[in-house]
């Protein structure tokens, strides 16, 4: 009897993943079909628009959404904290600072790819700083503290750059960049960001069993054969590679890494290993959907992606508050 119950919940997770994948395919096709050149796939300059403008946008949406969703699930599992998100370990702020400095110094006007490259450099420095501060066996609390310290420093330096900026255009560009966007990205951006995001995603997808074991606490996990130092290193480097590259290419896209794993968790029986693939697909769906919505609302491209994901995430969170309150009510 007990066996059939569990197999049922396993097949439910399988069905959920299948359903999510189907939605993702639909959303990705929709994303390819939408643009100022008209709804549907244009036939005349067709291939050019599709390949040069829409395909990179869709690919980046897929990868960035997946990276953010998965990194959120990994960090929530690793930190045993359902409210952890990729930003908590300071990588997105580090990437943000790197990109902002590229704008501030004028490097990005001289050389367009200075922006994403600066972002990746910032993410790398932030990651090394967090790893150095937290130490190899610092545990989750030290890691959060180190992340908060690095993140505050990066945010402060971004504010400083804005504060000292004498060029109003650069300030506007910084603010706009920080709001996140997939607009006007080319295949070069894809080639630049994709290898890091894919490497990070592959690293993180392997952490399922270790994160499951960690649900029993560090000592029990270690007794089950988990190498805690290696788990910490893999979780952070996976998140850093994928979230760092995502932020470097698209700017700040908030809420995805927080809300996607949080919403999907009860649907996979709270098991960290089952949450990873579901959050990967769920994150991609959320980002692509947000990007489609903003293109439909403002075809001229005034609305930024980070704003839309935050606006979409808030109602989901309010619903979570409502559900938690009902569950906790006496």
């Amino acid at each position: 009897m007990s066996d059939t119950r569990d197999i049922r919940s396993e097949s439910r997770s399988g069905r959920l993943l299948g359903g999510l994948l189907a939605v993702l395919v639909l959303v990705a096709l929709l994303s390819l079909a939408i643009g100022p050149a008209g709804f549907g796939i244009p036939r005349t300059q067709a291939a050019l628009i599709l390949m040069e403008i829409r395909l990179p946008r869709t690919l980046l949406g897929l990868l960035i959404g997946g990276a953010l969703g998965l990194a959120g699930a990994v960090l929530q599992g690793y930190l045993h904290n359902p409210l952890a998100e990729p930003g908590i370990i300071g990588i997105s702020s580090g990437a943000g600072l790197g990109a902002v400095l590229a704008i501030h110094t004028g490097a990005s006007t001289a050389f367009a790819l200075a922006l994403p490259l600066g972002g990746m450099l910032g993410a790398l420095i932030a990651t090394l700083l967090v790893l150095l501060l937290a130490g190899p066996r610092g545990g989750s609390l030290t890691l959060i503290l180190a992340g908060v310290a690095v993140s505050s420093l990066a945010t402060a330096l971004i504010s400083l750059a804005l504060n000292l900026s004498r060029n109003p255009f650069a300030s506007v560009e910084i603010v706009y960049w920080l709001l996140g966007s997939l607009a006007d990205r080319s295949m070069t951006h894809v080639w630049l960001g994709a290898p890091f995001m894919i490497a990070g995603i592959l690293l993180m997808l392997r952490l399922g069993p270790s994160l499951d074991a960690l649900s029993l606490g560090e000592e029990a996990a270690e007794n089950l054969g988990v190498d805690l130092a290696r788990l910490q290193l893999t979780a952070i480097s996976g998140a850093a590679l994928s979230v760092g590259a995502a932020t470097a290419v698209a700017g700040g896209i908030g809420f995805v890494g927080l809300v996607v794993p949080h919403v999907l968790r009860p649907l996979v029986g709270h098991q960290p290993s089952r949450l990873l693939p579901a959050s990967l697909v769920g994150g991609a769906i959320l980002v692509l959907t947000a990007d489609i919505i903003l293109r439909l609302l403002t075809p001229a491209g005034d609305l930024r992606l980070g704003v839309v994901t935050a606006l979409m995430g808030t109602p989901l969170f309010l619903w979570l508050v409502h559900r938690t309150r009902r569950e906790l009510a006496p």
């Binding site: 007990s2 029993l216 029990a220 270690e222 089950l224 029986g269 098991q271």
Partner: protein, 258 residues
Amino acid sequence: MRLAANDICVTLKDRQVLFGVSAVLVPGQITAIVGPNGAGKSTLLRALAGLRRPTVGRVTIDGVPLSDLDRRTRARSVAFLPQNPQVHWPLSVRSVVALGRLPHHSSVARDTAADRQAILDAMTAMDITRFAARSVAELSGGERARVLFARALAQEAQILLADEPTAGLDPAHALDLFAILQRLAAEGRTIAVVLHDLSLAARFCQSAVILADGRVVAAGPAVETLTPERLTQAFGTAMAVGCIAGVPVVVPSERGQK
């Protein structure tokens, strides 16, 4: 499998906790590790499980240093149940027990027939099959303790180390737990438990290690070790050993000066 600590010293955060402790755990026996608070019992158990590396001395399994084994081999040989074990997510009871099978999984073979049998056996032994699909968050403390013990059983290790496994259990389930431990010992497994209940130690354990201030006060067969003199010496309070209805009982008789 024979697990031995040879003259080990363990230091935690610059504070030395164990001073040259030796203990031998033999197959077929349940060994009680007893002593006052802060004596180093849990640290000794962790060192035996390979979770704390001694600064001096070493822990060996059948003569092989524990630190020479790779993590998975060690995980299949030694099951360790921490004190006040926790579960961070509201997982189902069965999926918690199933975590004990992780060291047996390879990248291709998981959830095999052997896994399912081990999980079912562990749940049956701990009398939790009827909770299988429930969330551990809904269970009482004692029920959850049984679920976590079943996790350690599902690991099917030859050596089982448990830190206060009877904490939070009602008397009936505490007796059940020792019945299971006795059965496992009879199958040839090596078992050590940290216990505060000295009566349970005297009743069910064949050998005992008494620790005080990080040193061994006495070790050996339980009947020779758990004596009023040794216990009084270790606990700093007068201890009486008696017998009620044929069952050995150990009680503090008087608060001594320390």
